[in-house]
Symmetry: C2
Subunit: 804 residues, 2 copies
């Protein structure tokens, strides 16, 4: 056995579990430091009778180290670290995907309930007792989850964890309300339903949404300051406008100070321009100066200032976030390292311990990958990993290992004639000529579609018959896909996102053809997607590839921002439904200034009779889906005042507050989104300028690649080690490696791959600063364990960590 079997862990975790060993220790020569849980190494070997207990304590250490690393990965603060075996079981119960899924599903169920609660979507309406019972059930689930958390965190940490406390309060209110609804068998004014998204935000899987929310809150103070400036100018101009234009009797926009303020607020969004100017302009042409000055100051200057301020804050926040994450991970690694080293050799982690860790950290990782990961960390070639080497833990942990293929092509092992055919196809599909020919075909197809569509101006007949051009182009695409798959091999072909896109578009087009041929009405939408073939043209130019690749890279982040927006939408939709459900309908608002938009009558203009159809009654809050559409329209801003005025005319003036608040909230979120896109792209462009490498070239190596060479003797040794001392199950992967090595000869190179993340890019961008941060970090935190205890005990740390 390579490593000492009777090594004693440097640190012993979870006192009660280790009590057996501790007693030994205290009777022995070691000094046990009760504050830090550290056993000061004592001279001499451990007593043999502690063997069993020792094995147990190693297992506990592995588990705690894995938990630390998990916390580092998830950016969980260490003050929520389980501190006893008691807490550990609750922690383990609450930290697995089953539990997370349950958490998520209850939260989603609670939110979806609003589809069925009055005012419900007609087809999904449920009886009061049904949805109230469902709600109660979901709330009980949430309560159960909270109890688990209480058990794991302990009461003191629990009440200091703000987010959890807020959740508990909301839960309490919802509980009471649900019971009231169930008892009264009717829904009352339940504005508190707007708080339901809190359960979703608190889910383990909603980390990205929480980060977005935090970023929004961090950008808020400077944003609000500039907003005040904006509103201030608005009020000044409103007074001015009232003084100047209120004498004009036909001007409905400035006849009272309130109207004046509302008009200028709407003008801020440009939604009522130029109509708001027209009555004044028709009286005196110079009055346009008032509006031009107002728009120049407010819209073109201060609004951009808002963006600048948010962008600037955002920039800073992104960097600080990256810094704190990096240092948090580093600290997690240090914690884990301390738990993995033995008293005999306190500055290194052996493969045995590493494997022990991985059994908890990645239970499904096989022995071969674990060994390869260890080897890729172990750059010095010694038998132990030093702390410096262990720091790179997170960089290598996600790698997917594969032996480097000896041959280039998938068809290398085929008979010679067949090989030559495939080789020919391979050369063909890789040639520039083939590529450009395909671009040409796509371009012709594009022009064809345009011309064809332009010629059928009735827009109905074309779906009934399969046009021959469709078949021709589809055949060409089909042949291309077939050639590429055979030439490159399915593995290589599908590893490129662009090929996947080609493939799926072609398959969809084929399905569309079938739909056309068999006249299946519901699948026509597939035929309609045909023009997306043209997207392939954008592969030609590097910049477009970059843009589209960045688009896909940004997608997860964009999705989380979208989800954040939806959470705001949800809250506003609930409030809107509670107050404005069923207030607008055709011809409802004939007394308001926006009557036309709601009017639906036969009207005589001159001497003709026309059905004047104002559709705006469709923009209502009658159920949650309609509310979402209405809120999206308000987000797009154009003509939003029509919806506002329509509803205001049916309710009270105070309704405007709802719409204005919504506008400001979406302005914040939208500004953040713009700042985010700006930041992401400028970052990428800076990155590719600095490193002078074309980012995201689809044909090139993509992502991070590690190489590790394994010799035959090494492999056999490892297999031996595993067979004798470590877990005996599931060694097939190692045996497979040994067999492969025997076939190949002396050694094999394994490649570990993972995709490149924003964090990798940041690492490269801030290279120099990172070293500074590390230095600063290591001087302030000489003892990693101290930080741990400090963060555990200081209330400030908890306060700042509360929205994780």
């Amino acid at each position: 056995m390579a490593d000492g079997d009777d090594d004693v862990p440097l640190i012993l975790t979870w006192d009660d579990a280790n009590s057996g060993l501790l007693e030994e220790e205290e009777n022995g020569v070691g000094n046990y430091d009760t504050v830090n849980n550290v056993v000061i190494p004592a001279s001499g070997a451990t007593e043999p009778r502690a063997q069993n207990s020792l094995q147990h304590s190693w297992e506990m250490n592995y588990q705690e180290a894995a938990i630390y690393l998990q916390e580092g990965e998830n950016n969980d603060k260490f003050f929520t670290h389980p501190r006893s075996a008691h807490a550990l079981s609750a922690y383990l119960f609450a930290h697995n995907h089953l539990f997370y899924m349950m958490e998520l599903l209850t939260a989603v169920l609670l939110m979806l309930l609003s589809l069925s609660e009055a005012p419900a979507v007609p087809s999904l309406r449920l009886d009061v007792y049904v949805h109230a019972t469902l709600e109660l059930l979901a709330l009980v689930m949430v309560a159960f989850e909270l109890c688990m958390k209480l058990r794991w965190l302990g009461f003191h940490t629990f009440i200091r964890h703000k987010r959890t406390m807020v959740k508990a309060c909301v839960l309490f209110i919802q509980f009471i309300e649900a019971i009231v609804v169930l008892v009264r068998q009717t829904s009352h004014l339940r504005v508190t339903r707007a708080l339901r998204p809190i359960f979703l935000v608190d889910c383990r899987y909603s980390g990205a949404v929480r980060r977005n929310l935090r970023q929004i809150f961090q950008s808020l103070p400077p944003f609000i300051e500039i907003l005040l400036l904006l509103l201030f100018f608005m009020v000044i101009f409103a007074i001015l406008g009232f003084c100047l234009f209120s004498r004009n009797a036909v001007d409905p926009y400035f006849n009272t100070l309130e109207n004046s303020i509302v008009s200028l607020f709407v003008l801020l969004t440009t939604a009522n321009f130029p109509d708001v100017m027209m009555p004044a302009y028709s009286k005196n042409r110079w009055s346009c100066i008032f509006f031009i000055v107002y728009l120049s100051i407010e819209l073109y200057f201060i609004m951009n200032l808002l963006l600048a301020v948010v962008f600037d804050t955002f920039n800073g926040v992104e960097k600080m976030k990256f810094k704190s994450l990096l240092l948090h991970k580093r600290s997690a690694i240090e914690h884990a390292f301390q738990l993995l080293v033995s008293r005999q050799r306190p500055d290194g982690v052996s493969l045995k311990q590493f494997d022990g860790l991985m059994r908890f950290y990645r239970p499904r990782m096989n022995a071969r990958d674990c060994f390869l990961t260890f080897k890729s960390l172990n750059q010095s070639g010694a038998t132990m990993l030093s702390l410096q080497e262990f720091y790179r833990f997170y960089e290598v942990i996600g790698l997917k290992w594969k032996a480097r293929r000896s041959g280039e092509h998938w068809f290398d092992d085929l008979p010679h004639t067949v090989f030559l055919i495939f080789k020919g196809i391979n050369l063909l599909v890789k040639s520039k000529a083939f590529q450009y020919a395909m671009y040409l075909v796509v371009a012709i197809n594009g022009i064809w579609i345009l011309v064809e569509t332009n010629m059928l101006n009735d827009g109905v007949s074309w779906t009934r018959v399969v046009p021959w051009s469709y078949i021709v182009f589809l055949t060409i695409y089909g042949i291309e896909v077939f050639l590429k798959i055979t030439g490159l091999g399915p593995m290589l072909y599908f590893s490129s996102g662009w090929n996947l896109f080609d493939f799926s578009v072609t398959v969809f087009a084929f399905l569309g053809l079938i739909a056309l041929a068999f006249d299946m009405e519901p699948f026509y939408f597939i035929v309609v997607l045909r023009p997306f073939q043209l997207l392939r043209l954008f592969k030609i130019k590097q910049r477009y590839r970059n843009v589209l690749d960045t688009m896909f890279e940004l997608f997860p982040r964009m999705a989380s921002l979208g989800l954040t927006l939806i959470i705001f939408y949800y809250s506003f939709a609930i409030v809107g439904m509670e107050f404005f459900a069923d207030v607008v309908y055709p011809n409802c608002c004939n007394t308001s200034t926006v009557a036309n938009a709601y009017r639906q009558i036969n009207e005589t203009i001159g001497n003709r009779t026309v059905l004047q159809e104002g559709y705006y009654y469709l923009n209502n809050f009658n159920n949650i889906l309609s509310s979402f559409v209405t809120l999206f329209e308000l987000t797009v801003v154009n003509n939003w005042y029509i919806t506002m005025e329509g509803i205001t005319s049916q309710t009270t003036h105070w309704s405007r507050l709802y719409f204005m608040t919504f506008y400001i909230v979406t302005m914040v979120v939208m500004t953040i989104i713009v700042a985010f896109i700006l930041d992401a792209f400028v970052f990428r462009m800076n990155y590719s300028r600095q490193n002078r490498e074309p980012l995201g070239d689809p044909e090139d190596e993509k992502g991070i690649v590690f190489e590790t060479e394994v010799s035959q003797t090494e492999a056999l040794q490892t297999l031996d080690l595993y067979k004798h001392t470590l877990r005996n199950t599931n060694l097939s992967s190692l045996q497979g490696m040994c067999a492969a090595l025997e076939r190949c000869g002396s050694s094999l190179v394994f490649l570990g791959r993972r995709s490149r993340t924003k964090s990798d890019l940041s690492m490269k961008m801030y290279e120099e600063e990172i070293l500074e941060w590390y230095e600063e970090y290591s001087t302030t935190n000489l003892q990693p364990d101290e930080t741990f205890h400090r963060s555990l005990n200081s209330p400030e740390a908890n306060a700042t960590d509360s929205i994780n």
Copy 2:
């Protein structure tokens, strides 16, 4: 005399003028390098008979050095440097403010002519022969200016200067057209009038506009690439939309492919949302997904991408511009330095030579300031300026010199009792309490105005009577201004921009009061400006002060961007007037989809009769002023399609091209403006973060301050020097300094001040990079004269310099 009177210049300029001296030289021991105009220093003193010629050649050198420095300041490339005495006279003629003003006025006159040419502003209409004659006159002026330029540049440089060539071509066309108009006595379709702004752009004073235009052109290639992506998606979605919605008979937005494309183009600007969605949405609620996806991709992603790309390009361009300007100035200084040093002492510039230079460079600078500027450059204390010291020339040249006041306050010399009173006032107005009391008054005034305005909802009566509150507040403000002026002294008071603002607002309010009291109708607008008093509240918070100060700092640049926009407006207005003048009028467009916006009839709705007044006929191209307002409305984008559709219904479908082009052009310019504001603010915030100093604190020292101490002996020596050897006129300033020194004792400190510019901030921001640039510059340009000749001879240099 301190410096050798018979020093010979190291370089002799303008061969023909120096021929006398050169002959001497060539007969003598020096070797004249005809290529570089450099006289290689020869041993021995100059011959006495060359004295006169020597004096003349120094004068020529001073002048050329001044021209070089001027070129460095104005960023004129050196290949336009006058190269003979012949060219010099033309150069001097074309480079003074009189000539510049003439240039500007002719250009402005040409542009203003469109006010009077058909279709003219009614009140400014002129007969054809009058405005055609005026135009011819202006064009003759322009031709004259071009001739002067030809004389100065020489034919070869002239035809290689692209901007000038374009100007010449446009001039030629305009000439012919003006004559044709004069002969036919009627205006034809003169779209070429849209080119008139070229004359304005070419003016010396329009440097900022030229820079903006260049920046726009530089940002264009990446912009266009993303724009293509945008339009591509638009077309794909248009085909999709046509396929999906054309079956809906009541949907006018997607019934043909052309309408579909136009609808989606307008939707890109959100101007027709949600109307464009409504017919489809009312048929099938899920159709909103099409619009949400379209807007998310196009509006929220690709449009922001556009901004990101422009912002990124802009950032890079700003830095490169700063770099090239800096190096250009440095090179200009080197050229000037070479011309100012003598053959005897080739590494220093003496006061005598410096004074000679200043007589040409700043003719109106007095001897004292010249001496002080020299001293502030001369940090080593030697009698000569080294090249290193001379490099800082541009930093000190704008300084305003003033002796540091011995006392603190303006009232120090008054009798003791009076002094105490003033001292008390001084302390009072400087106290925090006084300031906050004033803020409180302003705040109360603000609330008062709001309440008062809110209460008079008829909006007419209030102008007839002077409200007592108005008098009370005005009295308080008046007392404040009075106290501040007396307490701080007028000089100190008016040196702060905020005080100036307070003062002018108070004076205006006072004028308003008089207008009210004497019931002078036309001055009511002053009363209306009262709310601007409230702006003073924003002094309270540092961030607002920063924002407002930045606003003022950015103002020149914003104005130049505005001017650039106006130039685009002008061109589009001319084209619009030529094609769309008088095509819209009330009830013109009853056949179009936007008929309502133009309808002006008595209409029966239900059983009431209402005057439906559509004002959009006012948004026309009937004269240049209306065109500008219309174009501003198109810039604001909201409801722009109404104007487009109205005019399209009266003309042809191709009119849409005009409006779409205009939209894209303004989008470019607006994106640049947004990028500029973003960049300026982010830069400022970064700057103040890096330097940890609050920028633009109005009470603190503002701008750049240099200190120079002058001793009495030094002053007398300088006076002596001036009296004996240099210009004998206008020594009063020096004598005054000597007198002041005698009064004060041994020495006096003089302070030179100037306001801080963006260039100063950039200098500090890029400190490290600047050193790199200098190094790079000095290694590539070992011989400054070589660069000069290289840039003179290489056609590439000229090509890149062409748009200056």
